[in-house]
């Protein structure tokens, strides 16, 4: 495994840090130095909110090397609320519950590990937004074992 390559991508992978065009304000992910909208150069950093929707998805049953332990899992094409479409694994969801338009949020999870001796690689995945329940008084109570 190329430890240095993973290390260089850490910031964008851990916290979804991309770029913003200083000219037309297009939000760019992954960072590539050139605005895809107006072709101006930019190096201005932009941290995405992490909120988005599932645009498309596909479930992987035969996983590539390094990911066999997680199969079957679903890869989503996620449209971030700021615009860009990115590809990422979906997590904390049963594969048969994924649907187009599902509201998702970014979480930092383990992507892969290099055997039992190498580095652990962490990065973004997306999961269904943790729903907000109103607190009920009985939430604090339960039958003691």
């Amino acid at each position: 495994m190329q430890v240095s390559r993973h290390w260089r991508l850490q910031q964008q992978r851990y916290a979804l840090v991309g770029q913003v065009c200083t000219d037309c304000e297009e939000k760019i992910f992954p960072p590539r130095g050139v605005c895809p909208n107006c072709a101006k150069e930019t190096d201005a950093q932009f941290e995405f909110s992490g909120r988005g929707k599932v645009y498309s998805f596909s479930t992987v049953y035969t996983a590539p090397a390094g990911f066999e332990g997680s199969a079957p899992y679903t890869i989503g094409l996620v449209q971030l609320e700021e615009g860009p479409l990115i590809t990422a694994q979906l997590t904390d969801i049963d594969n048969d519950h994924v649907e187009i338009g599902l509201d998702v949020e970014m979480v930092t999870r383990k992507l892969l590990q290099d055997g039992d001796r190498g580095v652990l690689v962490y990065g973004y995945k997306f999961r269904p937004v943790v729903p907000v329940w109103e607190l009920e008084p009985e939430d604090a109570l339960f039958a003691l074992a």
């Binding site: 851990y14 694994q89 383990k110 995945k125 943790v130 729903p131 074992a145």
Partner: protein
């Protein structure tokens, strides 16, 4: 329990500058293993179970990823820039690496690098409250405006062992800051430590060992009572002064019994007693009990928290809720929201998730 005079007249730990909790955040993974599943596999369903169910981390979760989510919730509640955080400290007995800090992964993920301290803390189940106490000192001395203390674990029990019913996953993160910006002011702290061999895990071994019946009286009860009674004595408080009390919770019985021994009522303990629903979260246990209390606490409430770590020791804290709590409670998911996000798994899925299957 009678204690020697020098133990009941301690010097309370309190920094020169008043400090408190500026933000907090919990995390519990999504999966639950019912205790009856462990009983089904190992006891043919006979005998009682110490809790209802425990939280189990997914395949892509560990103490680092769980700490990141709790830490993000704490920063969101505090509404500060993460670059102002001068220490990111993670207490756990399940750090993903034997050598390489969990804290730098967390600090990088929340945007606190590079101008920050990073360190991993270790003291069985009280590693998190130790980091909490050290953060009080760091902020209280003026060395830092904000310090992050996290207690988080993905605990493992030997298959079939009594601990397998309860060894859970979860924890909480606390952003310690100046008292005037805090949702709860920390009024005092006290630690009580002795060398006691009640529970341990040797290097390179996956599962802990325990001194069986030795874990109760000379370990848990002696240290929790020692720390709590000494703190209350020095602060001039009695159990009825506290709206809520949180005691380390390896099972449901110990914290209830220790509370009653000292004169606390069940309704003071219940809000922070999460072990029946998520299991023993080790270094996260007392701290996630506190986060569940903070989710519902009201301005003026007095809160008591006592951790316990095998080996052994207890850290005790007294906190006073301020009027800043109500707005910040709603800024991030509550502890109960994570607990309600629940997907039941069976023992087979559990063994896969926890890496207990031999693949090659």
């Amino acid at each position: 329990m009678a204690l020697p005079a020098e133990m009941t007249q301690p010097k309370i730990m309190k920094p020169a500058r008043d400090v408190g909790i500026a933000g907090y955040g919990a995390y519990v993974p999504r999966y639950r293993l019912p205790a009856v599943e462990v009983s089904r596999v190992w006891k043919e369903g006979t005998g009682g179970t110490p809790i209802k169910e425990k939280a189990v981390p997914g395949l892509d979760e560990d103490t680092a990823t769980m700490s990141v989510e709790a830490a993000r919730n704490a920063v969101t509640r505090a509404q500060i820039a993460p670059t102002e955080i001068r220490a990111v400290w993670v207490g756990s007995e399940s750090h993903p690496y034997a050598v390489k800090p969990t804290s730098t992964i967390v600090a990088e993920s929340i945007g606190a690098v590079p101008s920050t301290m990073g360190a991993d803390w270790q003291f069985a189940c009280k590693a998190g409250t130790e980091a909490f106490q050290a953060s009080m000192g760091l902020v209280g001395s003026g060395m830092a405006e904000y310090a992050m203390a996290i207690g988080m674990d993905t605990a493992q029990g030997k298959p079939g062992d009594a601990l397998e019913y309860t060894a859970g996953a979860g924890g909480a993160a606390y952003l310690i800051g100046p008292a005037e910006e805090s949702l709860a002011v920390i009024e005092g702290s006290y630690s009580f430590v002795t060398d006691t061999p009640d529970f341990w895990r040797r290097a390179n071994k996956p599962y802990p060992e325990h001194g069986s019946r030795f874990t109760g009286e000379p370990a848990y009860f002696k240290h929790v009572v020692g720390a709590t009674e000494a703190l209350m004595d020095a602060m001039g408080t009695t159990p009825s002064d506290y709206a809520h009390a949180i005691f380390h919770q390896p099972n449901a019985k110990f914290p209830m019994r220790v509370g009653k021994m000292m004169g606390f009522q069940a309704n003071q303990i219940e809000t922070g007693l999460l072990v029946p629903m998520i299991g023993n979260t080790y270094a996260g246990a007392a701290l996630i009990g506190l986060s569940a209390v903070l989710d519902v606490a009201k301005p003026g409430d007095l809160i008591l928290m006592t951790s316990f770590g095998s080996g052994a020791g207890s850290d005790c804290f007294q906190l006073r809720i301020t009027d800043k709590i109500e707005k910040r409670q709603k800024l991030a998911p509550t502890t109960q929201q994570y607990i309600k996000r629940r997907t039941e798994i069976d023992y087979a899925t559990y063994t896969r998730f926890r890496g207990k299957l031999v693949m090659k």
